[in-house]
């Protein structure tokens, strides 16, 4: 495991040290350490069930770690609710984006943080301000919406993701947790979202980017945490790992090997597939030795 202690003056925005989380006797997460600096993207990679969502829930304040420490700006914290995490500048953009599809873009943008102005004894929404701000904030992120009054459900998946990101940024997020933002998107839309992740980083935010796709993670990430069955199987900074190594780690060299053997036993057509797989493995530069036995 690499350390970043060579720059002690710099306190990371978020630091997890040896965090465990167990539900009864099921260990969902074991001994995870992670750091996020301002202006950095930390990617968390792993397959389904690797513990990614448990990790997010701890950082977002939905769960407390069973063991280990969680520090924000170098101060140990225990969050009782996502609201508390939010107050410390840790914002989460979930897969469902926490948007209400039928409501206009600007109402979604300010939902839960409505800006109001006084009108005698009552307070009413400052609609003009919210419309303009939404438009401006989205434009700053590079999204030019025709009409901020259109229901957010009419936007494309990438655009919706970006509205959610710029909303978090506008409301003072210092650390942005993005939960599989590209999972349900096509190549083009994914590219759009990655662009905004870079934008957020350029603005000096710390980003935690959850994904299972190394091709999305590598171009934008500064650090990579690989999870498997609740354990860290690697934690690298960008100069320590190449894209192919990352892919190989993610794909799991040993598993590819097994798959290869299995296919070889399956007759002619399957053997052909096995050959293709073998080439791919070599291309990726997987250096894993075949396991003994089968």
């Amino acid at each position: 495991m690499t350390t970043t202690t060579e720059a002690p003056a710099k306190t990371p925005l978020v630091r997890l040290t040896a965090c465990d989380k167990s539900y009864g006797n099921i260990i969902a997460l074991g001994g995870i350490s992670l750091e996020v600096d301002a202006g950095e993207v930390t990617c968390v990679l792993g397959d389904n069930g690797a513990g990614k969502s448990t990790l997010i829930k701890i950082i977002a304040g939905l769960h407390k770690p069973s063991h280990g420490s969680y520090e924000v700006d170098g101060v140990p914290v225990t969050f009782d609710s996502p609201r508390e995490a939010l107050e410390r500048g840790i914002a989460t953009v979930y897969q469902d984006l926490a948007v209400v599809p039928l409501m206009p873009v600007w109402r979604n943008f300010f939902l839960g943080n409505e800006v109001r102005k006084r009108l005698g004894p009552v307070r009413r929404l400052d609609i003009d301000f919210m419309r303009k701000t939404t438009k401006k904030e989205l434009l700053d992120m590079g999204i030019d919406l025709r009409d901020v009054d259109q229901p957010i459900g009419t936007l494309s998946g990438g655009e919706r993701q970006c509205v959610a990101i710029s909303r978090a940024v506008y409301f003072g997020a210092k650390v942005l947790i993005l939960d599989e933002p590209t999972a349900a998107l096509g190549v083009k839309q994914s590219g759009v979202v990655l662009k905004y992740i870079v934008q957020a980083r350029e603005r000096g935010l710390g980003v935690i980017f959850i994904t299972h796709n190394p091709h999305h993670a590598y171009p934008v990430g500064d650090r990579f945490l690989l999870l498997k069955r609740g354990k860290a199987i690697g934690y690298y900074s960008k100069d320590e790992i190449t894209r192919d190594e990352l892919t190989a780690q993610m794909a799991g060299g040993a598993e590819l090997d097994e798959l290869h053997h299995e296919l070889q036993r399956g007759g002619k057509a399957a053997a052909e597939a096995a050959h293709v797989l073998e080439e791919e493995v070599q291309e990726l530069g997987i250096t894993h030795e075949p396991t003994a036995g089968s």
């Binding site: 996502p82 609201r83 939010l86 989460t92 979930y94 469902d96 984006l97 926490a98 948007v99 209400v100 599809p101 039928l102 409501m103 109402r107 300010f110 939902l111 839960g112 943080n113 409505e114 109001r116 009552v122 307070r123 009413r124 929404l125 609609i127 303009k132 438009k135 401006k136 434009l139 590079g142 999204i143 030019d144 919406l145 025709r146 009409d147 259109q150 009419t154 936007l155 494309s156 655009e159 759009v192």
Partner: protein, 350 residues
Amino acid sequence: MSQTVATPAPPARDERLGRRSALARLLARPEMGALVGAIVIYIVFFIVAAPFREATSLSTVLYQSSTYGIVAVAVALLMIGGEFDLSAGVAVTSSALVASMFSYQFTANMWVGVVVSLVVALAIGFVNGYLVVKTAIPSFLVTLGTFFMLRGLNLAMTKQVTGNVATNDVSNIDGFGSAQNVFASQFTVGGVSIRITLLWWILFVAVATWVLLRTRVGNWIYAVGGSAPSSRAVGVPVNRVKIGLFMAVSFLCWFTGMHTLFAFNTVQSGLGVGNEFIYIVAAVVGGCLLTGGYGSAIGAAIGAFIFGMAQLGIVYAGWNPDWFYFFLGALLLGAILLNTYIRRRAEASR
């Protein structure tokens, strides 16, 4: 959708917005379909029913519509917030019974009964809302339960307290006159008698519309109905909003109950059953989505107007009374179809 980043200084108003006409924007409002439906039904009865054309008839129709429409406003807000209240019909009767029996039994000023009844009504709304948010059982089922319970309570309590199934006449209790002025008076404008419920109805619709479109609570109502988990994630107090909506329904049930009491002096404990569906029909005809998150208070008002107009229009037209419910159903279905058609057109033109 284009992704072009335009000139460095973004114009305050997008030039493309101007091209989307004001008419298209208006047509996209949830209540537009219902408004067109109301106009069509009005024209139909205006042609076929001579008495319908008179101003006094319109006044009767508006009175009838207002007694549905007042509760329908709150039912629409609740539906936008993603919930139903099947107990609304009998809750009207409960409020009237409580006010009447309290003042009579304690020989108290009528206004004391009115206030006690308000407290009881709000408590009913709170219980409905609390059960829905705490149990996470669909409100359709929870309020079906409270509907039957209230129905039983209305009868059992009335019998226990008065010994009869209707309340005693309260018209000579102190404060009856002033309460009647507030809840059930009428006045004449240009020879046409106007019921005060009409004014209250307009007021409630205006307030509800303003709350929905111009306040934070309104934003939250749309949000909790559109997606409760998302609302919760961004910090909207979903449970409080929902409980508040149930209490808003019971508040307007109380109001309508007060009207019934002061218009008729006595209340029968079996009244109100079935009206809960009229309120829901008014909200849906008015453009509220049954699944929540979309609709308007004005739409519900127009829906109630359509219902009242169809109900009385059939009588004004002198159509065979045996076929009354058939005609009523056909008119409502027609209004809903027209509404849906217009909304689809509006959406297509976006």
